[in-house]
C-alpha cells in the first residue's frame, strides 16, 4: 500500500506530495468538499463513467461548478492512472480519488490559491487487500453505534462529501467497544441505513433486500449487484430493514468499490445466517 507518485491538481500533473490544501480552503473551513472513489481492475478504472456521473450529482446538489466537464475530468483521470501505472507492482490495483473543493474562503485572501476558484484533485493510491483479507475469510462483524445517520433535512446522504465527522464519531464508538468491527449506521427511526463507506444488503427468502434509496450513498457497487442479480433472475428490492431482518437473514453483505462484496457473519455479536461466509 504505497502512495502513488503523480496526481492531477488544478490543471497540471504534479507529484502527489505537492497536492495540498491551505487552511483557507473551504474544504478546511467548512467541509465544502465533494469526492469520489473508484478503483482499477487489471489497471483499468472500474465504472469510471458511473462514478463521475455521481460526482457531478453531488456537485450539483451543493452548487459547486468544478470548472471541468465530466468528459474533461474523465480524460484527466485516465492520464493520472496511466502516469502512475509503471510504478505499481505487477498485479496490483489502485484506488482512484476525485476531490473537488470550493476553493478559498473570500474572507481570508492572500494565502494559498487565493481567488483561483474551485480546486480539483485526482489522485491514486495502491489498493491494499491485506486490509480486507480476513473479512473474506471470516466474514465481517457489523456493529450499530448509538450515533445515527445524518437526516435528509440536514444533508442528503447521497451527496458524497468528505464532511462527515459523524461517521468518524460512529466508527470511534464502534472501535472502542469492538475493535475491528464494521460500523453499520441506523437512521433516526432505527432502521438500517448504510455501513460507513459501504452499502448493506441481505438475502431473505431468496430475494436481495437493501435499505431504501436516500438512507445512504447510491452505491455504484450496489448498482452492479442489482444488474448481476437481474441477469440471474434474483429479485432485488428496497425495504425498511431493521435488526430483526438482519438477525433473521439467510446471508448479509457489505458492498463497496474497493472490495466489491464482503460477507457479514455477525451483527452486534449475533450470528447472521450460518455464521460463516457463504
Amino acid at each position: 500500500m504505497s502512495a502513488s507518485t503523480w496526481a492531477y491538481s488544478n490543471g497540471e500533473i504534479v507529484p502527489l506530495e505537492q497536492a495540498r490544501y491551505w487552511p483557507n480552503d473551504l474544504a478546511i473551513i467548512y467541509g465544502e468538499i465533494v469526492y469520489e472513489a473508484t478503483r482499477t481492475f487489471g489497471g483499468q478504472p472500474f465504472k469510471l463513467k458511473e462514478h463521475i456521473d455521481r460526482l457531478y450529482r453531488s456537485l450539483h446538489y451543493c452548487r459547486l461548478d468544478p470548472g471541468l466537464t465530466p468528459e474533461e475530468l474523465t480524460e484527466v483521470t485516465l492520464q493520472v492512472v496511466e502516469r502512475n501505472s509503471p510504478d505499481l507492482p505487477d498485479g496490483s490495483d489502485t484506488w482512484i480519488f476525485h476531490n473537488i473543493t470550493r476553493g478559498s474562503h473570500p474572507q481570508f485572501p492572500g494565502v494559498g490559491r487565493g481567488d483561483a476558484g474551485p480546486s480539483v484533485l485526482v489522485w491514486t493510491h495502491e489498493l491494499g487487500f491485506k486490509y480486507w483479507y480476513r473479512y473474506y475469510q471470516e466474514g465481517a462483524h457489523c456493529v450499530t453505534p448509538s450515533i445515527r445517520q445524518v437526516n435528509i433535512a440536514t444533508q442528503d446522504p447521497r451527496m458524497k462529501t468528505r464532511s462527515r465527522m459523524f461517521l468518524a464519531l460512529a466508527e470511534q464508538e464502534v472501535n472502542a467497544l469492538a475493535p475491528g468491527a464494521y460500523t453499520l449506521l441506523l437512521d433516526d427511526e432505527g432502521r438500517i441505513a448504510e455501513g460507513t463507506g459501504a452499502n448493506f444488503m441481505l438475502v431473505s427468502d431468496g430475494a436481495i433486500l437493501t435499505p431504501r434509496t436516500g438512507t445512504g450513498l447510491a452505491g455504484v457497487s450496489l448498482a452492479t449487484v442489482r444488474e448481476l442479480s437481474l441477469d440471474l433472475g434474483v429479485e432485488v428490492r428496497e425495504a425498511d430493514l431493521t435488526l430483526y431482518d438482519v438477525f433473521n437473514a439467510e446471508e448479509a453483505f457489505l458492498s463497496s468499490t474497493p472490495y466489491c462484496l464482503l460477507p457479514v457473519t455477525r451483527v452486534n455479536g449475533t450470528q447472521v445466517g450460518t455464521g460463516h461466509p457463504g
Copy 2:
C-alpha cells in the same frame, strides 16, 4: 484583510504559506478536524482561556488528543500573535484560529505527514470590519433556510468542527434567495437553533432569551453577554424560541467573537422591533 505572515504548525513557527494539509489528512478524508476562533482586542487575545477550554471539550468529545496540554497550546498561541503583530496595520486586530486534525489516514501512508499523528495549526488573519460594517448601520437581515440544524443524535452542535457542509448548503440556499442575508438555522422541530457562526438572542419583556443549550455552539460571546447582563440586573434565560417569538421580539441580536453583537432588524423579510438598530 491581508493574511498574517506566521503560523504555528506541528512544533514550529513557519510562514503561513507553508501550513498545509495533504489529501490523506483525516481532515480531508473524513472531516475529522476540530477548531476554535477567537480574536484580539488592542492586540490582546480575547478570552483565550475560554476558547481553549472549549477546544479541549470539542477534542474530548471526538476522542482526539492533540499532543499538547491546554497550557502549551496557550503559550504557542501567544507566540503566534506576538510574532505576527509587527506586520499588522496600526489599530487593526486579528482572528486567531486553532485547527486540530487527527493526522493521516492509516490506509494511505507514505504521503504528507505519514504516521506523525494529530496535526496542530495556529494561525491568525487580519480582521476585516468592512465585512460587518453595514450590519452595524442597517442591522442584519436573517433568513431561515429549509435546511435544518444537525441533530444531536448525529453530531452534537457544541463540538466546534469544520465538518459542516450542511451549514454551507444552508448559506447557499439563503444567499441564492436573499443575497447578503444572514443564515438562521431552525432545528428539526422548527425551533430557532443558531446563526451560522453566531448565537442568536432576543429581548422580550425586558429579558434576554436564547435558544436552549445544545441547539447550537456554546458561544463564548454569548457567555460574555450573560455576564454583562447579570451585572446590569437583566435576566438571561433559555427558552424554546420560534419565529413567533422572533417576529414579536423588542430587539434581536447575533453574537459572535469577531463582531461581538450585531443587531437583527429583519427576519424572513419581516421587521423585528422598530426595524432599526437599537
Copy 3:
C-alpha cells in the same frame, strides 16, 4: 378575470354577490370548510366526477354530511356552469369551486343561517391565464420555505380543506425572499411534499417520480398524468424525493387543474435540467 354572475347557495341559484358567510359559520370559527376546484375546457367541466368523488372523501374524513348526494351536487354544478356561460367572453374558461361548511356554531345562534345545517356553495370564476403565462414561457422557480407540510398525525393533507393558514405562512415566507416564486413544501423529514395548490413531479432516467401518497393532495391532474404516461409506456412511480433528486432531475413539473402542467426550471435558485422549459 371577472367574477361570474351566478352561484348555487344552499338550494337556490343566486347572484354570486349574495353568496356569503356569517361570522358564526364554522368555516369562520374553526376552519371547518372542505372544498374542491376544477375548471372547464371549452366550457365543459374537467373530470367533474373525479373532483366530486374526491370532495366526498374529504367530507367523509371530517364527518361532514352536505345533505346532497354526489349526483345531486353534480347536477347543481352543471346548472351553475350553464347559467354563467352566456356571460363569459368567447373562448374563455372558468374555475368551478365547491365549498361545504359545517354550518353555524351551536353556541352562537340567532345570526345568519342559524341552525340550518351544513352550507353548500358552488361558484365559478373566469380563469385568468395571464397569471400563469410567464411560467409557460420561462418555467417556474420553486422555493422550499422553512415552514413544513402539516403532519398526517394532525391533518391528512389529502383532505382538501380551506383551513390551511400554514400554506399562507409558507407562501409569505417565499414571496418575501423570492417574489413570484412558487412555494414547494417539504415534509417534516425534509422530503418533497407538494407545491401549494399543485403536485410536484420530476423526470429521472426516463421515469416520472412523484412524492409518496399522503404527503400532499391526491391530485386529479396528477392522476391524469399517470394515465397518459401509462398509455405512452412511461413509468410513473412514487419515491422519497429530496432536493438532491430535484437538482439532478432531467425535468420537473407542477401539475394542477387550472394550468395542467407547468415546467419547473429552477429550485432554490438552482437550475433544474437544462434550465429551460422542455
Copy 4:
C-alpha cells in the same frame, strides 16, 4: 344566548346580520384569519389590552397589517360593547370577538370587498353559562384524541387563528366516543399540549404545573392564574407533562376566558384527584 345587535365592520357600526364574508375572502380561501376572544365582567371588557396585544402578535406573526392601531381597535371595541349593552338582559355578560382577515384573494376580483384590503370585524354575543354549568357541578371529563397538536414547524400554536380544522377533527373524534367530554390535545411526542380553546394546568405537590410555552395558546386566563398564584405564594412552573402526571395530580383545571377555570375530575375515564370539584 341571543346574538348581539351591532358589530364593527370595516369602518362602520352595522347590524351584526350585515357583517359577512364573501367566498373570495382569504379567510375562506386559505384560512387567513386571525382572531381574539375575550368577555365582559359586569359589562366591562376583561383584560382588553392583553387580548389586543396578543392579537397584534398573531397578526405580526402572519404579516397581516389590519390598518388600525391597537389603540384604534380598542376604541372601536369599547364602542361595540357600549352600543350592544342596552339590549342585554340584566346581569348578563358577553363574548367579545375580533376577526381580522387578509381581504380578497387577488385572483378573484370583482366580488364582495374587491381590493379593499384586510377586513376587521368586532362582534359580541351573549355569554351562555348554561353551557358550562354542569362542568362546575361535576367537573369536566377530558379525553385525549389520537389526533395531535399542530407542530411548531408548521404553524406556531400561539398564533390565534381560525384555521384549525384539526381541532375540529380532534373534537369530533372525542365526541363520537365520549359525548360531552372536553378535548385535551397531546403534542407529537405524546406530551399534554392544550385543551381546544383552553389551557390545561394541574396541581402537584402544592405547585401548579402547566405545559411548556409554545405547545398551545399563550392564555390570558392562564396569565391571570399565574399572577394570582404569585400573590398567594403558590409556585407556577412549566413542565413536560404526560398522562402519568395528569392521572397522579392532586387537582387539574382548564382555564379559558369565558369560564375562567373549570375543574377537571376525569381524564380518559380515569379519576383525577378526588374525582370531585375541589
Copy 5:
C-alpha cells in the same frame, strides 16, 4: 372456554395447573418472554410450521436459545394437542400457545427453576367463539387511542413478545371510552399500525391494502390472505395508511389466527364502507 388439562413444561407433559412461573423468572423480572399463538381447525394445528418459524425469528431477534430445535418443538406441540384432544367437546377447537422465557435472573438464585436455563411451555385452551360472535354479526368498531405503537428504534413490533404493557394501556384507554371496541394503534407518525393482536387491512379500488411491514406483527393470517388473494387475482400491497384511507375504504378487516377475518364496520364512530359486514 374451559382450560385444557395438559401442557408441555420444560421436558415433560404435566397438568396445566403445574405449569407456573416463579417471581425470579426473567419473564416476570424483565418481560423477557417470547411467544406464539395458533389454533386448531378440526383438531389439526393451523400452519404450525409458519408459527414455529416465526417464533424462532422472535427468539433469534432477542438472542434467546430455547434449547429445542424447531422440529423438536413441533413434535412436542403435536403431543400436547393430541393429549388434550379427548377432553375437548365435540366440534370444538383450541388455541395453541408457546411461551419461551430466558429463565431465572442470575441475581436471584435459589428459587424456582434456579439456573436451569430458558423455560419452554406449550399449552392449549379451548377456543371460545362466543367472544367474537357478535363481531361477525355486526362488524367490529375500531378505535384509535392516543397511545402509539412502540417505535422500531426501541423494540421491533415483529418480535412476538408478552412484554407489551403499552398495548394494555391502549386497550384500557379505548375500553374506558368505547366499551367493546377494538383497539387500532397508530404509529408515531399517525399512520395505521395494527390492531392489538390482529393485522388490519382495507379494500380500496378493488385492491387490498395493508400497513407496511415492520409497523406491526408479521401476521400468519395476513400471509394467508395474501396467498388466497393472489389465487383470486386480487392485488395485495403495502401502503402508508391513515384514517383518511380507512374512512374512505370500501371494506376493512382485522385478521388474526383465532378468528381469521373480522369485518370492521366503524372506526372512531364513523362508518366504513356500507357500515354492514360484507
Copy 6:
C-alpha cells in the same frame, strides 16, 4: 445471595417457593405487572413510604387497583421483612420487591387464580454486594446501545413496570460488545435518558445535572441525592444532556436503591473526569 424464605402472596404469608404465576396471568399474557424495589439498611426498609407512593402512581397510571391501601401494603411489607430477618446472615441486608399484576386474563378462565382479581406479591432477597463491589473500586463503564428508551407516547418511563423487554435487548447489545459494562439509554433524540435500573447524573461546574423528568424512572435515590445536595448547598438541576456533556463532566454517577451511588469512570470507552472513582 440466598433466597429469602417467606413472601406475602394474595393475603397470606407463604414460603417464597409457593409464590408463583400461572400462564393465564396478565403479567405473562400482556406484561401487565407493576413493581417496586427497595432495600433494607441495618434491617430497616429504606424510604418505604416513597417507594410505596411511587408504586401507587404506577398503578394509577395503568388503572390497576391492587385491592390494598398503601397503609395495608406497608404493614404487609414490614411483616415480610420481619419474618425473613432471622434467616439472614448477620450484617446482611435484603432487597424488598412488590409485584402487582392484573390477575387472570378473562379469556382463559379455569386455571391458576381464575377470576380472583389482581395479584399482590411482596418478597425479599438477600442483597449481594459482590455484584457491585468492583464498580466501587474501578468505577463503572457505561455504554450507550443503539436501542432507544421507550417514547412517552407509547409508555411513560416513570411507570415502573416489568414490561421492558427493550431494556433486555439493550443490555444484550451492550454485553455482547462490552461484557460487564452498564447500559446507558439514549432517548429518541439522542439525549441521555437513564441507566437500566438506575438514574444517571453528572457534575459540571460544581452543579449536579440530571436528565429531564420523564426521560426515565423518577428515582427515589436520585431524590435522596437532591435532598443531600440541597443541604450541602450544591445545585441540582435538570438539563438536556448528551455524550458531549458526559465526556466533559468532572464526575458522573449512577444512582439506584440497592447500591446508592456508583461512580462512572468511562462511557463508550472514553474516560470521564479523572477516570478514577472520586
